[in-house]
Symmetry: C2
Subunit: 421 residues, 2 copies
């Protein structure tokens, strides 16, 4: 395609999405849930066709020499398709976020003021190879009344195409606008740049993937971006910690799923308990294959620890590696987190009421936890019901983003002839 053709294609898709979003905005819950159930049924009844299309992507990925881990992420099995269909049915159980009166008041002049939840409009969703994200993202966007333009990875184009066809056929089948879910089928990378300029049609961009994708979107987008940079998460074990609890939390935060953003990357230990806690936790972590990198005090207490550098304290390893630093006191730990942390998820383990209060107030992270694993900073675990991503920004939405975070509001003002004096 020529540049002009691509620009036209992007513009037409965005215009169609805008029109679809306008009618979707006033659709009630029943129709949206009907679509979710219809799509779940269709996924199950078309499992064979989905697996066949996915096999083309898997074969291509093998030819292209992708790693086994990447190919596993790409693969759709009947079990995974069934799980995606169940995911759609779970979204039917979530309340409709649209039309909720967030606040209301009666003004002295008799005006009734309501602040009512409305959809954002059109969401441009960019993601990498996992094709089940196609289903999850479409479900959350449509349930929250938004049209979505999906741009998946080129490795998954056959899988995404059939999934998109099922989702849009289901929209038609329940009399909702099929353009509410569109897939960018051109593999031209310039298409992303064109979409990011269309702030008259697209209300929000959500990039999900590697840091270079996210930085590109943040730099180029003219519309707001819901994004996630680093997750450099800390557990601070206070001098008043229950050490058995601290051990459970540290092991869980580091080892339960080390590759995710809410896993612990750095352990801070109060100096008064370092001598008792460090050998104990060091032995458990080493046994689980965790590489330890510590400050001088840590290395004295733990023979297996290597010296940590400044960059270790700033790192998001996403791996079985942990930086450790001994802290003279609580405020030093708070200052360390302010300096090196990424404002994602930070926990204190303590039985000291005042230390817990000081920590929750002074640490500026999307989730601040007391006596709990950092792994709980997650949409399902915090009760949002579902999650389209975790925001590391402070504007609009912070931390896990579910259906509510995909909405805006309008003021509805009801009167009987009021004018301003």
């Amino acid at each position: 395609m020529t540049d002009q053709n691509i620009a036209d294609l992007c513009n037409q898709m965005a215009q169609r999405a805008k029109l679809a979003s306008r009618s979707l905005a006033t659709v009630g819950r029943a129709a949206k849930d009907r679509w979710l159930n219809h799509a779940a049924d269709a996924l199950l009844s078309q499992t064979t066709a989905i697996v066949d299309a996915n096999a083309l992507d898997v074969a291509g990925a093998q030819q292209a020499g992708l790693t086994a881990a990447m190919i596993d992420r790409l693969r759709l099995t009947p079990a995974r398709i069934q799980s995606a269909a169940e995911g759609l049915r779970q979204v039917t159980n979530l309340p409709d976020p649209i039309g909720r009166i967030r606040e209301g008041s009666l003004r002295p002049n008799g005006l009734e003021v309501q602040k009512v939840s409305v959809p954002l409009g059109v969401i441009f969703f960019l993601y990498e190879s996992r094709p089940n994200v196609t289903i999850d993202a479409a479900a959350l966007c449509v349930k929250s009344g938004n049209a979505v333009i999906l741009r998946g990875g080129k490795e998954a184009i056959h899988s995404n195409s059939i999934l998109h066809r099922i989702l849009s056929d289901s929209l038609r089948a329940v009399d909702l606008p099929a353009d509410a879910v569109q897939l960018v089928k051109t593999l031209d990378r310039d298409a992303v740049g064109y979409f990011l300029k269309l702030d008259d049609c697209i209300d929000l961009a959500i990039p999900r993937g590697g840091e270079s994708l996210i930085r590109r979107v943040a730099a180029e987008a003219r519309m707001p971006v819901l994004k996630h940079y680093l997750g450099n998460c800390h557990v601070y074990v206070d001098r008043a910690a229950d050490l058995a609890m601290a051990e459970r939390i540290v092991v869980n935060a580091k080892c339960q799923r080390p590759g995710v953003c809410n896993a612990m990357e750095s352990l801070l230990v109060h100096t008064e308990i370092a001598q008792s806690f460090l050998p104990r936790i060091g032995a458990v972590l080493s046994e689980k294959g965790v590489e330890l990198r510590g400050c001088a005090d840590t290395c004295r207490a733990l023979k297996q620890a290597k010296p940590a550098t400044e960059s270790d304290y700033a790192a998001e390893y996403c791996d079985l590696i942990l930086s450790i630093k001994v802290m003279p006191n609580l405020d030093a730990a708070i200052a360390h987190i302010a300096q090196y942390g990424s404002k994602h998820s930070d926990a204190i383990v303590t039985s000291d009421w005042n230390a817990a209060r000081r920590f929750t107030q002074a640490v500026d992270s999307s989730a601040v936890l007391v006596n709990a694993s950092t792994r709980f900073n997650d949409g399902f675990e915090l009760g949002l019901g579902a999650e389209i991503g975790i925001s590391t920004d402070k504007f609009h939405a912070r931390g896990p983003c579910g259906l509510e975070e995909l909405t805006s509001y309008k003021y509805v003002v009801l009167g009987n002839g009021q004018v301003r004096e």
Copy 2:
């Protein structure tokens, strides 16, 4: 100053603001209100010095040939200073938005989850010539726990400098960080560009002024922007309208203060009442000096109306000019507003329950009003207590922005040893 000197200056100011914001984030209401009262007292006791400094700006503006209206906006009189001091005291009456638990839940595993309001951090506030904005903006930013970097117009530099000195001296006097309110004193326009790059220190930019300033900030800023484009507001007079009420509302929306963003720019009239309503409202508006530009039907009914062009329906006149169009039905009015409107403030006048419901649901504007003047889309009128601006975006905050809209939130998660399975 050299470019490097300006860049260094901007960076140092932003770093100091970040530090100040960190300590301001955990300051309670009492200290912030003490500052507001102290600053109000100081404004009153230093009225003469303020008027003297302002006289230098006024003299400069006269020499530079600014219009009488611009010079009036620039001028500070003892009465205006007293009114600004009263404004500060009014902000002490507003509740502290920080630390409010917005939502909370007890999870099945025993975790207590709280969603707690926190400040955004550092706000870069750009504005044009009215120096009392210096006081208003600082009051709202600090009361909401944010540090602010103020960048006023060069015409007001002497006024802004003394006002800033009073505000920061008052911060020191009540033991709050003086860097919580800083003023950019260099007149170099490049300084704005440097600040807009510092997204590691500055959490939000708020431009208040002409469209070219706002577009520049939106294009250059790496941090989120709270902004206000056009206000092309409509009043739709339905066939079921009480015509006396419609007249009151139309006159108020157009004439009470024609230069502001929530004034009506376009009047839509249902065809079935056009013959009775148009001559009546036309006579009143003409008497008030409003120039009328209408569709063919309008011009037939109103001899004084000139033919309107497409661009009239898209225009924000901010003046005593009104475009008028006769509508075949309610849905045509909704479609017209979707096509030409700016999603700011749009009103229907009707006694028809279903028409009112359809209008409030289908019109996507920051305020949708029934039987009330568009002029009510205002922070004070809607009960926000104060207003730092009106957002025409949907992300984060929509419509009038008060103290709540200058906050974010964090999740505080309280447990007794929970780990993820």
